[in-house]
């Protein structure tokens, strides 16, 4: 079971994608794995044959545990050394793997430098004759693999070695299509779809969530935004309204610990000390992922804008790190650019609140009998009524609005 991130402790085999007895090449996807935060695939570290599953579909095991047995040939007896506990994830690298930059060309000639100690002549022969050698224990000077070692133990490289690519867009596995009946199209759910379905259902069924909403005059924010946007653009930073809202939410959360309180079981609550803001990102394939900006209250607006852009880009390219998901204090979901005004966003468990941002439109605003035209934004706050009452929720929302209306020129 690979370790996708430093804090990952266990993973669940969602689905085995190769059959027992099937021949696999290095880099082939063996199984879909999900964790509390992320889904990924396990790829084969070597060429060989899948011989036995040790973990069933749906079963959860700790990282590092042997999940399957593979052998070099189809018939050889299974031994302990057949276990592939060094399986690699398809996306990103395992937490421990630190890839050193490859040494400069000339030191790669020397047997000792480079990842495998091998004499220059043996390496040359291996290339000419297409032999694999990293499995050989060298008997030469300084432990290098010699020409003789290579002759005795070198393995022919298979014709097409499939190399796993780090970033494969979108879902971890392509859903198979099942034979359709009539004209309807039926297919299996992808892992991320299954996870979303579970999460949303658990959220609705397991919490007492409800939503309050408000509109607010954003004249001040718009003028500040315009000015900052140009200034930041010169520094290569793209500022968005979402970044401003994240900043305002982070600042307000400092004064409203109740909003960053979550229920644990039935007896305890957790009040998160770090203020991390999840940002809902709508992916090209219609799925949803929520990367998190950590310690947003300690970041300035510029840093938030940069971080937001970076996370959004990488989310769309399925290149987020395990540590960038989960453990947010609150999530912000912006549907304003799609014309939505009020909505009732669904809580992202175990968070206690979620701020839905709707469109900002020019409207007629009445102020002490006078009509003016101003940009107005719609904000919807869903909260878990099991631990947050209407009063605290409303006060938090009020402060967010207030912060936005007096958005500091930073």
């Amino acid at each position: 079971m690979p370790k996708f991130g430093l804090t990952m402790e266990e993973g669940t085999i969602d689905e085995w994608l190769v059959e027992v007895g099937q021949k696999v090449a290095k880099g082939d996807i063996l199984a879909e794995v999900s964790t509390d935060k992320i889904t990924n695939s396990v790829t084969s570290p070597e060429d060989g044959y899948m011989r036995k599953y040790l973990v069933e579909e749906g079963e959860t095991v700790p990282c590092g545990e042997v999940i399957a047995l593979m052998t070099e040939s189809a018939e050889e007896a299974l031994t302990e050394s057949s276990g592939i506990s060094e399986a690699m994830p398809e996306h990103g690298s395992t937490a421990e793997a630190v890839q050193e930059p490859s040494p400069e060309a000339r030191t790669q000639d020397s047997p000792v430098a480079g990842e495998v100690a091998i004499t220059p002549r043996a390496r040359k022969l291996a290339e000419e004759q297409n032999l694999l050698y990293s499995h050989i224990k060298g008997t030469g000077l300084l432990g290098a693999i010699t020409v003789d070692d290579l002759k005795e133990h070198g393995k022919p490289r298979p014709d097409e070695a499939v190399q796993a690519d780090v970033a494969v867009p979108s879902t971890a596995s392509v859903p198979e299509s099942v034979a359709a009946s009539g004209t309807d199209y039926v297919r299996k759910l992808s892992t991320i779809e299954k996870k979303t379905a579970r999460t949303m259902h658990d959220s609705m069924a397991g919490t007492a969530q409800t939503t309050i909403a408000t509109e607010a005059d954003m004249t001040q924010l718009v003028s500040v935004y315009r000015e900052l946007k140009d200034r930041y653009a010169q520094e290569g930073v793209r500022l968005t309204y979402t970044a401003c809202i994240i900043k305002a939410v982070a600042m307000a959360l400092e004064d409203h610990p109740r909003i960053r309180t979550t229920l644990i079981g039935e007896e305890q609550v957790r009040i998160s000390n770090r203020i991390s803001i999840g940002v809902a990102v709508d992916l090209p394939d219609d799925s949803l992922i929520v990367p998190v900006i950590r310690d947003a209250n300690l970041l300035d607006l510029r840093s938030i804008a940069l971080k937001l852009r970076d996370l959004t880009e990488r989310a769309k390219n399925n290149a987020l790190q395990y540590e960038e998901l989960g453990d947010a204090s609150i999530t912000v979901s912006n549907m304003g650019n799609m014309g939505v005004t009020y909505f009732t966003p669904v809580l992202n468990p175990p968070e206690g609140a979620l701020l839905g941002v709707g469109a900002m439109r020019e409207q007629i605003v009445v102020n002490q009998g006078h009509m003016t035209i101003a940009p107005v934004i719609y904000l919807s706050l869903t909260y878990d009524h099991r631990i947050i009452n209407g009063g605290p929720a409303a006060r938090f929302l009020e402060q967010v609005v207030d912060t936005l209306q007096h958005f500091p020129e930073i």
């Binding site: 000339r106 000639d109 020397s110 047997p111 220059p120 030469g140 000077l141 300084l142 290098a144």
Partner: protein
């Protein structure tokens, strides 16, 4: 222990301490006693041990012949050839007696003499006083050829050479006699037949002795600026040489340059090169290069002498070529 001594005086101190320790040791040669040696290396010995330090007639053959006889009778002669070039006069005694006597008597005796001689060029001593003579003796099994490079090595290798039961050709480099270095005051021995890695590196191995070590170090510093890491190996004993250290260094760097003072043809660089190719061909990623003196006797005119010596530019070029080979 920060005391510094010149190469020549380190040898002198070794002789004093060895003669103090072992009464079988005696010193013999031309002008070694009353004059204290042409280069002053044996000064002070005759005053202490007048019966154990002998001046001879101008006869190198007699010096070595007498020493062989003394050695197989159980004494420990330390004989001097005033210049290595003059060893030619004693050649028969060296290669036919000194080298072979130890093999001829069923192990009942050995020929443990030490033959000291100043060799090397670079100080305008012209044709008959500037030769490097390792190669003269390299092809004669039975002889041990030692080339100390520093005062520290000079003292420690000489004490070991004298102690050894084998006939040792102890080749001092005359240009190093005045070079100073740290030398422990007490008696000590350095192992014969062991090479030393003077500088660690990863890209190319340079083997050098005596005055060539300074050139190697300078070149290494220059090449370091270009990103080339040079490993320098000092064999100390030219024969029998430390194969293991040399091969391990080649295995590490995969490139070898042999920097040798003295003519190229048949020099010790040729021997090392053949051995490495034979035993470690697959560890090489480039051919082996030798940077040596030209194949001529050493001229008298300074400009000519300098041009005959190994050239630093050739050393730098060789290292760069090997690193960029292929």
């Amino acid at each position: 222990m920060a005391r510094k001594l010149s190469y020549g005086m380190a040898i002198n101190e070794a002789l004093h301490q060895v003669m103090e320790k072992d009464e079988r040791v005696f010193v013999i040669g031309e002008d070694v006693a009353k004059m204290g040696g042409d280069f002053g290396i044996t000064q002070g010995l005759w005053a202490k041990w007048p019966k154990r330090v002998k001046d001879t007639a101008l006869s190198e053959a007699a010096i070595v012949g007498l020493s062989c006889g003394a050695a197989i009778c159980g004494l420990k002669p330390v004989a001097e050839m005033m210049f290595a070039d003059f060893a030619g006069v004693a050649f028969d005694q060296i290669v036919n007696n000194a080298a072979k006597l130890g093999y001829m008597f069923q192990g009942k005796t050995s020929c443990g003499l030490t033959l000291r001689m100043p060799q090397g060029a670079g100080i305008r001593c012209a044709y008959h006083h500037s030769s490097n003579v390792e190669a003269w003796f390299l092809n004669t099994p039975g002889l041990v050829i030692v080339c100390p490079s520093t005062p520290y090595e000079a003292k420690g290798l000489l004490t070991s050479a004298i102690k050894s039961n084998n006939p040792v050709i102890f080749l001092e480099h005359k240009k190093l006699y005045n070079v100073k270095g740290e030398v422990p005051e007490d008696y000590y021995e350095l192992p014969l037949y062991e090479a030393v890695v003077e500088r660690e590196g990863t890209d190319v191995t340079v083997v050098a002795t005596q005055t060539m070590l300074q050139m190697a170090n300078e070149a290494a510093r220059t090449l370091e600026q270009e990103g080339i890491s040079v490993e320098i190996v000092n064999p100390r004993t030219i024969f029998p040489y430390d194969k293991e250290t040399l091969l391990n260094s080649v295995a590490k760097t995969s490139r070898l340059v042999l920097l040798q003072e003295g003519p190229k043809v048949g020099g010790w660089a040729a021997e090392f090169s053949a051995m490495v190719t034979e035993d470690a061909f697959e560890y090489l990623s480039a051919p082996i290069k030798r940077v040596t003196s030209k194949d001529t006797p050493v001229p008298f005119a300074p400009v000519l002498e300098d041009s005959v010596m190994p050239q630093k530019d050739d050393l730098l070029a060789s290292c760069r070529d090997l690193v960029h080979y292929g």
